[in-house]
Symmetry: C2
Subunit: 285 residues, 2 copies
C-alpha cells in the first residue's frame, strides 16, 4: 500500500485486483481494504491529494529536464453514472493541470472509424512525466462493440489480443497502466439516473439512450468479465472498484495512483549546470 495510506489495512492494488470470479466476486457496497467510514475517507482523500501533488511534480520535473522515462495511465471504465466524472473532478482535479493529460473518448468519428480502433488511442497516450487519464477507452470497442455487435465476433476476438500486445508495448516503454472498472449495482444506477431526471439542472446529464443501455445490463456484465479474463495482465492489470459509495471509489483510485507513483519513486533532478556560477551570473544581472 502507499506510504500515505492511513486507514488501509491491505494494499488497494491487491484487494482490488480482479480475480477469476470477476464481477460476481465484488460487492458494489463494500469498501475492501479500508477500515474507515465516510468521514475518515474524506480526510484520507484530502491528505492523499497533497502526497499525489508532490509525487506528480517530481515526475513532471524529471520530464522537464529530459530525465523521466515514466508516465502513468489511468483507464476509467464503467456503466453510466458510476462516477467516472467524480473521479476526474475530485481525484485527478486535485493535481496540477500541467501534469495531467485527460482524454474523453466518445463514439468514434468518421475519420477514426477509417482506422484501427487503437489509432485514436495511441495519439492520446500520456507523454513522459504526465499522468494520462482515459475517460472511456479502447475497451469500449470490446464492450459496446460486443454487446451491440458493432463488429463481427472474430474482430472482437482480434481486439482482445491486439489490446494485450498494445498495452505490453506501452508498459515496456515506461507507462504504468492502471485499469479501473467502477462497479455499481443495477439498483444504484437506477437511483442515480432517476436523480438526474428529477433535478432540472441535471437533465443534460441524462439521455434516453442511457435507459436503452441499462436494459442490456447483464450483457454488459458478461462483456466486462470477458474483458477481465482476456486483458488483465501483470503489465496492465484490471481493478474492480466497488462504487456504490462514491467516497470509497475516489479514495481507492487515489490510492492506486499513489502506489504507482511511489513505485516509480521520482527524485528531484540534479542540476546539470554549475549552480554557484549561475548564482553569481544572476546576481550580476
Amino acid at each position: 500500500m502507499s506510504q500515505h495510506s492511513a486507514g488501509w489495512t491491505a494494499p488497494a492494488s491487491e484487494v482490488l485486483r480482479v480475480t477469476s470470479a470477476g464481477l460476481s466476486g465484488v460487492d458494489p457496497e463494500a469498501t475492501p481494504g479500508y477500515q474507515g467510514k465516510k468521514t475518515d475517507g474524506a480526510e484520507s482523500l484530502a491528505s492523499g491529494l497533497a502526497a499525489l501533488g508532490d509525487l506528480q511534480e517530481r515526475l513532471f520535473a524529471r520530464s522537464a529536464v529530459g530525465e523521466a522515462q515514466a508516465s502513468v495511465l489511468l483507464v476509467l471504465q464503467a456503466m453510466d453514472s458510476a462516477g467516472k466524472g467524480g473521479i476526474v473532478r475530485h481525484v485527478v482535479g486535485g493535481v496540477d493541470p500541467q501534469g495531467i493529460e485527460l482524454a474523453a473518448f466518445k463514439a468514434p468519428t468518421a475519420e477514426e472509424l477509417q482506422h484501427d480502433f487503437l489509432w485514436r488511442i495511441e495519439k492520446r497516450l500520456p507523454a513522459e512525466g504526465k499522468i494520462g487519464v482515459f475517460d472511456r477507452s479502447h475497451y469500449e470497442d470490446v464492450l459496446i462493440g460486443r454487446v451491440r455487435a458493432l463488429a463481427p465476433a472474430e474482430e472482437i476476438e482480434r481486439r482482445y489480443r491486439a489490446i494485450v500486445d498494445f498495452e505490453k508495448r506501452v508498459a515496456d516503454s515506461g507507462t504504468r497502466i492502471i485499469k479501473v472498472m467502477l462497479h455499481i449495482s443495477r439498483d444504484e444506477q437506477k437511483q442515480r439516473l432517476m436523480e438526474r431526471l428529477e433535478r432540472p439542472e441535471k437533465h443534460w446529464k441524462f439521455n434516453p439512450g442511457d435507459t436503452d443501455e441499462r436494459l442490456l445490463w447483464d450483457d454488459y456484465m458478461v462483456a466486462y468479465d470477458t474483458v477481465f479474463e482476456r486483458t488483465s495482465t501483470d503489465d496492465a492489470p484490471w481493478y474492480v472498484i466497488p462504487a456504490n459509495r462514491k467516497w470509497y471509489a475516489r479514495l481507492a483510485v487515489q490510492e492506486l495512483l499513489l502506489a504507482a507513483l511511489e513505485d516509480i519513486d521520482p527524485q528531484w533532478p540534479v542540476a546539470d549546470y554549475d549552480v554557484a556560477a549561475e548564482k553569481k551570473r544572476l546576481a550580476a544581472s
Copy 2:
C-alpha cells in the same frame, strides 16, 4: 465586476485593461481595484472557485447537448518566474479538468516551423463549452521573435496584423479572449530566480538561459508595449496584471474569468426529451 467579487472596488476588466501608458503605467507591487489584503485575497479566491466551477459546468453542459456556441480563451504571457504556473495550478486547477483545455507552447518543433506561426495555435483553440488556457502563445512569435530577431522586421510586422485578424475571427466564432500579461519587477524576478538556485528541489525550474533572457529585460518591455499597442482590441483586450504579489495576480485572473463567464451567462440546458416518459421507462427498467 463579477457578481462574486467581494473586495473589488472596481471591475477588474476596467482597472487592469492596458492603457496607452503601457507597462510604465502599472506598478508591479500594486493591487488595483482590490481593497483587501493577502488574507482577504485567499478567502476571495476560495469563494470565487466555487462560482467559477458552477459557471464552467453550465457552459460545459450547454456544449454537451450541442447548445453552447461559446468558449473562453485565457492567454498567459509573462517574463520567467512571473507566476504563470501558479495561475494554472491555483486558478485553473480549481475547475473540473473536464472543462479545461490547457496548451503549453514551447519553442516550435521542426514541423511547426514549416507552417505559419498560427498553425499550431489554431489546433489548440478551445472547443465549445471549454475554457482554453494558453501557457505562452502566438505572442512569443512577436516577443522573443522580435527581441532575438528570429524573424525579419517585416515578418514581425505582418504577424501583428495577422494576430488581430486571427483573434477577430476567433472572437466572432464565440470565444471570449482574455489576454493577460503578468507583470513583475526586475528585482522581483531576480529574487525568484535566486530562490530556484538556492533550493535543490527547484533547480529543475532554472536554466542558464533564464539569465540570458533577463539581460534583455528592457528589450522585452519594449516588445510587450508594442504588442499591447498593436494587438489590444475590443475583441481581444490585453490586461496587465501586477504580479509581485502572487495572491493578487491569481485573484485578478480569476476575476477576469468570472466576469467573462457571467457575461456569457450560460443557463442549464432544457431537456430535449420527455422527462415524465423517461422517468416511467427508467422506473420499469
